[in-house]
């Protein structure tokens, strides 16, 4: 982390371009729908390109930074692209691009598209800012912005369920945001304004009870977003209510943003040595381990596909927190890689769920009987993503589980393997029966649901992103060790954290 940062405009572009696009969405819509689509696609692709260029640059050893805005004489809004941020940013940008392309097909029939696309691309901006934030205050600003401004996307359908889910979402998120704000204020009070630093910015001389308060406020705040169990209530309601492409992003990236916040907090605000001496991490391990198994158990009994996937997200993202709580290098690699891997697997699954809704009218697991015959490509993608979630080699889920497992051994907690493998087994229990239904059950077609009977493979705008997500899942698994892949970046980030 001591390397001198290179001043670059690219991070600024990554977060400014979507804002411009969001502003131009409505004027572009006046021109034509195609103009709007073109604008959004160009911007999202540009952001993805920027994020990938930054990731490549970071992988070759550079650290980029840029100052945006001076808030007070001491406080700057400051972007700094390190390995962890570059990895998360690249994940966000690519998944967002896929979800956007998918939206063009999926949302065609929906109402108020200007609002949807405007907020959708705007959220990309906040999330990129979050990934690249260089100090706590910048992080907080983007965190709050993207938490609150996703509300219109959650309630987009404006059905009573969506409105209720939206209310729940906003209550939870505001509660979490308040805790984060409190934690950050206390951090500034204790340590002043500092960029994220590997060893942590809080000094060990700080009042221990103050440290405890700060830590638990951070954990409680980010835990809402990362859906740790007592704080997870919004996730299973928000996902089924939101439109499928947004669900994909919500599950793939937004929940991960909470975990990302926890990673930043643990390694760059507190630092491993301080946390070890505070002795809080075993509790976090306990909470995360419980979340893994509990959410997975709940997922088994969900009939609504998206709801089941939402519980799966809770379970899977708890792996990240679990890994972080071990404070070991291998497990941290696993945590960072798992965020990326999970984003594309779960993103892919939600895109599939959207296709099943659109093409078959199937919201529930039972309605998917025989779906593979009518939608072979979608079903194949779904099956691959499911196997990935379980951690079957050579898919990407295996890679992250592998590093998690090694991390558990490295920190001498082999009994945690039971949680790791138990969660994976539960994932098999709640996901694979769906795959079985799709391939080996006879479809039950009643005369009145013609949509189900006539379901066919979706057009390329929707199928393309899905296939791409699946391909990425395969690539991230088979090519996990290639240079420039998430593992390499995560390794760099981890080296920096444990420097």
């Amino acid at each position: 982390m001591e390397t001198e940062a290179t001043r670059s405009i690219l991070p600024l572009l990554a977060f400014a371009l979507p804002i411009v696009a969001a502003v131009l969405t409505v004027p572009a819509q006046r021109v034509s729908e195609h103009a709007r689509a073109a604008l959004l696609l160009v911007v999202a692709a540009a952001v993805a390109a920027v994020a990938l260029v930054l990731a490549a640059g970071v992988a070759s050893g550079t650290v980029y930074d840029t100052y945006i805005l001076q808030l007070t004489p001491q406080i700057w809004m400051y972007l700094r692209v390190d390995a962890a941020g570059a990895l998360f940013g690249a994940t966000v940008a690519v998944l967002w691009l896929l979800a956007l392309v998918y939206s063009l097909g999926y949302m065609r029939e929906e109402h108020r598209l200007g609002r949807y696309y405007g907020f959708f691309i705007l959220c990309l901006s906040w999330t990129m800012g979050l990934a690249y934030a260089g100090n706590l205050l910048t992080f907080l600003i983007f965190y709050e912005l993207f938490s609150i401004l996703t509300y219109p996307l959650v309630v987009h359908e404006e059905t009573p369920e969506a409105m209720a889910a939206g209310t729940k979402y906003i209550v939870y998120i505001l509660f979490g945001g308040t805790l984060v704000l409190l934690a950050i204020v206390l951090t500034f009070f204790s340590a002043g304004v500092q960029t994220f630093t590997a060893g942590g910015i809080l000094s060990p001389e700080t009042d221990p009870s103050m440290l405890q308060v700060i830590f638990w406020c951070f954990l409680g705040g980010f835990g809402v977003k990362a859906a740790l169990v007592p704080l997870h209530g919004w996730v299973p309601d928000a996902h089924p209510a939101a439109p499928a492409p947004f669900s994909a992003v919500l599950s793939g990236v937004m929940v991960a943003a909470g975990s990302f916040g926890i990673i930043r907090t643990v390694f760059q605000v507190f630092g491993t040595s301080l946390l070890t001496s505070m002795g809080v991490m075993p509790y976090v391990t306990g909470v995360a381990g419980f979340t893994v198994l509990f959410a997975a158990a709940l997922a088994v009994n969900q009939d609504n596909l998206k709801r089941r996937l939402a519980y799966s997200t809770i379970s899977q993202m708890a792996y990240v927190v679990l890994a972080v709580s071990l404070l070991g290098p291998e497990s941290t690699v696993g945590a960072l890689v798992h965020i990326t891997n999970h984003a594309f697997m779960k993103g892919g699954l939600f895109l599939c769920a959207g296709l099943f809704i659109r093409r078959l009218g199937a919201y529930n697991v039972q309605q998917l009987d025989g779906a593979a015959r009518r939608m072979p490509i979608t079903a194949a993608c779904f099956a691959i993503a499911c196997l990935g979630m379980i951690g079957t080699p050579p898919l990407s889920g295996f890679t992250s589980k592998w590093y998690l497992g090694l991390g558990m051994l490295e920190t001498e907690k082999p009994w945690l393997l039971a949680v790791l493998l138990g969660g994976a087994l539960m994932a098999a229990i709640y996901l694979l029966p769906i795959v079985y239904r799709m391939y080996f059950r006879e479809p039950v077609i009643t005369p009145e649901d013609r949509t189900v009977a006539e379901g066919r493979e979706a057009p390329a705008t929707m199928l393309g992103p899905l296939v791409a997500a699946t391909a990425i899942t395969l690539l991230l698994g088979i090519g996990a060790s290639l240079p420039g892949m998430p593992v390499a970046l995560a390794r760099m980030a981890t080296d920096a954290f444990f420097h």
Binding site: G233, F294, A297, L298, V300, N301, Q302, L387, I390, G391, T392, P393, P394, F398, T399, W402, G405, L406, M408, L409, E412, P414, L417, A418, L421, A424, L425, M426, A428, I429, L432, Y436, F440, G477, I478, G479, A480, S481, L482, V487
Partner: protein, 880 residues
């Protein structure tokens, strides 16, 4: 082992020659599988040739390993993928597995071309077999545990498609069971592999360094690994999927599943026992370092004995030929495990066990594949697999019969067939193990071994005897003839190998086992001894004769007493317990979800309740507050207001009475018919007039609150004609409604309608509101306050009279309270029941009510005054 030899071994092991062949062997079929469907959809014939050629080339490639291994002992290839790299390392044992795997695959593929004619989805079948072939080769050629796990999982999961191929309900059920056990086994395996890292392993298939991790961890790792591999190997107690899954697959797939794929599990256990948990090769081998390996070997040996015995016992109960063969697969895996276990138990001297176990792996692959193919051929022709329904087929299918006999001779261990060699080797190994530490229990194991061999013999006597010999139990048409040539070719290839390995055991022993054992630093001289002195010796042949004698005894006793149709209750079967456990797990999940939802529901109900409670409370508070502020701002109705109210009341009361009178008069004038009683009319009119009066009085009450009653009163007295306008309609309405009233019908609604329409046409309140203005309000209030103050001051005479009149005052208060209560009750009951209150409005009542109002107002004023005084005192106290 002397130092020179050890050094030599180390140098050989360390000297790995790189070759692309192993990787090509694995990746070749995998890539070839991708082309099956594109070719198959256009030219099925070409596809058939293609798959045979691919398997043949794979077989040739595997054979190509022989010279390489002979020269270099171990070769390796590395593919950069997954977590760094996939390594393939081949030693003699891996080579052996690779060769027989591709050999049996070739034979089964040949056989499948005809057999599949009555199945669907040929492309899927062939794609699957090629992928599984690649995975299987990947398992046996893997050089590290991650690669091994990758291909093992692929093998297990993809083979699911072979099990479910026919897609009958039975197949689906079996496939489901197979799948879940594979998944659970896979996780156990992964856990075991992780734990080897905790034990200081590097992930390679090499001995774990001593001194890392404690004993518990070591046992946990070993058990998880053996369990993980054992699921695939059909090891008791995790064998339950096997007897279901193998019979439902198409026969060539059964041959592959039973002949080859379960060997992947055996291979894994073999490596675990003889490679992972043993001391470093070439190190100064002290006996205590072998301790763990010995104990593990003993465990595996006993698992093997249990597996072989239980397998054969259950096989004897079966009537379906394929199912019987599947149980024999379990049993034969027991032989293999016993061999491997003995090898582990004997440590550095375990050559006999290794050789026996692995020899039996190869043998079982050959004869079990051949048996499945033969039974498949029978099914292909007769569409029956039931032992008790077929019979006498040797005449119809002579060549198949011969091949079946060869395979049966192999599996039962007839001398000069391959099973004889391996069974004798394992037997020797068990005896050797017994002699090693003189463990009495191993003596029992040896006895069980012989009995099991007897059971096997019995079983195949039954198979051949019932299916091929004896009298036919049904009429066979002309379609029942010998199998097509490609099927026969597949079986013939296997039968040849069975005989070859029975005649020339040195092929494997000298060609494969001795160099392999040497490379792993084990003593292999004992195998030379076996070949020279024990092979086909009297003792060995005698043990086979014993086994056959037992077999014939079992057969005849069993047939005579129908012992082959015994069925144990279901809770005896491990399968049943597994199913209970699985259902229990799902039920637990469902239960957790229900409990969670219940808690969540309760919480949200509690939240909602508290919210509504809060709202109600807040509303009530607000109302109170409004009342208080209104009272404070406008003051309670004072004495002057009371006076004015009374006047208004009198005016309205007069109007009411006039109205009633008008109605009665009107009724009387119309009552020429005489049907309508005057009483009813009066009643109704009184009621309506009463309602009207109360509404009008309400308007006056509002005026009181605004302090403008005198103006309102002026309006009221001026509005006499306006009010009088309502009389006529009321009279008419009363007259119209009277008959219905008499009939006892409810007229409340009609009365309400009349009142409403009259009120809305009258709008007295608007008239009053016109006269209200701020200045008037202020003036009125000032006058009122003055009057209140004047009247509030008690007279001196009153004060002096207090003592004297105490009791009477109490009486008055009580009377007042009772009166108020009565009024309240009557008010409530009137509102609700809609009873006509006319009879209550007597002159006396009016006066009394008037008095009540007066008293009530006075008391309220007194209260306000008290509050005011207290506040004043408070302010004064604060100021001072």
């Amino acid at each position: 082992m002397d130092a020179g030899h050890a050094a030599e071994v180390v140098s050989e092991v360390a000297h790995l020659v790189s070759s692309p062949l192993p990787a090509a062997l694995v990746l070749g079929p995998l890539l070839a599988a991708a082309l099956v469907r594109p070719i198959g959809t256009r030219w099925p014939g070409v596809r058939n040739v293609y798959v045979v050629v691919v398997t043949a080339i794979t077989l040739l490639g595997a054979a190509g390993l022989i010279p390489l291994i002979a020269e270099h002992h171990r070769i390796t290839s590395v593919v950069p993928a997954l977590l760094g790299k996939l390594t393939f390392t081949v030693d003699s044992f891996s080579m052996l597995f690779a060769i027989f795997t591709s050999f049996v695959w070739f034979a089964a593929t040949l056989h499948s071309l005809d057999y599949l004619k009555h199945e669907k989805k040929h492309d899927r079948y062939h794609t699957t077999t090629l992928v599984v072939l690649a995975a299987n080769l990947g398992v046996v050629l893997a050089g590290d545990l991650v690669t091994l796990y990758l291909f093992f999982e692929a093998l297990g999961l993809v083979a699911f498609l072979l099990v479910i191929h026919t897609e009958t309900d039975e197949a689906k059920k079996a496939a489901g069971k197979y799948f879940w056990m594979t998944v659970v086994g896979g996780f156990a395996l992964m856990g075991g592999i992780f734990l080897t890292f905790a034990l200081g392993g590097s992930g390679a298939l090499e001995p774990l360094p001593a001194g890392h991790g404690d004993e518990v961890l070591r046992w946990a790792a070993a058990i998880l690994l053996i369990l993980g591999f054992g699921v695939k190997a059909g090891m008791v107690p995790v064998h339950v999927w096997l007897p279901d899954a193998h019979p439902v697959a198409p026969a060539p797939a059964s041959a592959l599943l039973s002949g080859v794929m379960i060997k992947a599990g055996a291979y894994g256990i073999f490596r675990v026992v003889t490679a992972l948990f043993r001391p470093e090769i070439g190190a100064e081998v002290e006996s205590h370092l072998w301790e763990f390996s010995e104990q593990l070997g003993l465990v595996v040996l006993w698992i093997g004995i249990a597996t072989m015995f239980i397998g054969v016992f259950l096989a004897l109960q079966q009537s379906n030929a394929k199912r019987m063969l599947a149980y024999h697969s379990v049993s034969q895996m027991g032989f293999i495990l016993a061999g491997i276990g003995a090898a582990g138990y004997l440590g550095a001297h375990g050559a006999m066990g290794v050789a026996g176990g692995l020899y039996h792996v190869v043998n079982h692959a050959l004869f079990k594949a051949c048996l499945f193919l033969g039974v498949g051929a029978v099914y292909y022709r007769t569409h029956s697999l039931d032992l008790y329904h077929t019979g006498g087929l040797w005449k119809k299918m002579p060549i198949t019969f011969v091949f079946m006999c060869i395979a049966a001779a192999g599996i039962t261990g007839v001398p000069l067939f391959n099973g004889f060699v391996s069974k004798c080797l394992i037997h020797h190994a068990i005896v050797e193990a017994w002699e090693y530490h003189e463990l009495a229990s191993l003596g029992v194991a040896e006895k069980i071994y012989i009995v099991t061999c007897g059971g096997t013999a019995c079983s195949f006597i039954k198979l051949i005897g019932l299916m091929f010999l004896g009298r036919p139990k049904m009429e066979y048409g002309p379609e029942v003839k010998d199998a097509p040539p490609r099927m026969l070719l597949g079986m013939g290839v296997l039968a040849t190998a069975i005989i070859a390995l029975g005649w020339f055991p040195q092929l494997l022993i000298k060609g494969v086992f001795q160099p392999g054992l040497h490379a792993w630093g084990l003593h292999s001289d004992i195998l030379d001894h076996y070949l020279e002195h024990s092979f086909l010796s009297g003792a060995d042949v005698m043990s086979v004769v014993t086994a056959f004698a037992l077999g014939f005894t079992f057969f005849f006793v069993g047939m005579k007493f129908h012992l082959f149709h015994l069925h144990a209750p279901q809770y005896f079967s491990i399968d049943w317990w597994y199913r209970q456990a699985a259902h229990g797990l799902v039920a637990l999940c469902v239960g957790i979800d229900r409990a969670y939802e219940a808690v969540r529901g309760r919480t949200s109900r509690a939240l909602r309740l508290s919210r509504s409670t809060y709202r109600t409370a807040a509303e009530r508070l607000g109302r109170q507050w409004r009342l208080v502020t209104t009272t404070l701002l406008t003051g309670a109705p004072g004495a002057r207001d009371q006076h004015l109210m009374q006047e208004a009341y009198l005016v309205l009361e007069r109007e009411r009475q006039d109205t009633v009178r008008t109605a009665v008069v009107h009724a009387a004038s119309c009552a020429g018919t005489g049907e309508v009683s005057t009483d009813a009319v009066r009643e109704i009119a009184a009621y309506i007039a009463d309602r009207m009066m109360r509404e009008r009085l309400g308007v006056m009450g509002d005026a009181v609150r605004h302090g403008t009653l005198e103006h309102a009163l002026a309006v009221l007295s001026g509005a006499g004609p306006l009010l009088a306008r309502a009389r006529r309609p009321i009279a008419e309405a009363a007259y119209a409604l009277a008959p219905r009233r008499e009939r006892g019908e409810s007229i409340t609604r009609d009365v309400g309608a009349v009142v409403n329409s009259l009120l809305s046409s009258e709008r007295l309140d608007l008239l009053v509101a016109e006269r209200v203005s701020a200045s008037r309000v202020t003036l009125g209030r000032a006058a009122d306050s003055l009057g209140t103050a004047r009247r509030a001051l008690p007279h001196v005479s009153d004060l002096s009279a207090v003592h004297a009149r105490g009791i009477s005052r109490l009486e008055k208060a009580a009377a007042w309270a009772v009166e108020l209560l009565r009024l309240a009750v009557s008010g409530f009951s009137q509102e609700r029941s809609g009873l006509m209150p006319g009879h209550q409005l007597k002159e006396e009542t009016i006066v009394r009510t008037r008095l009540q109002i007066q008293r009530y107002a006075r008391d309220i004023s007194a209260n306000v005054a008290v509050v005011f005084v207290v506040l004043l005192l408070f302010v004064v106290a604060l100021a001072s």
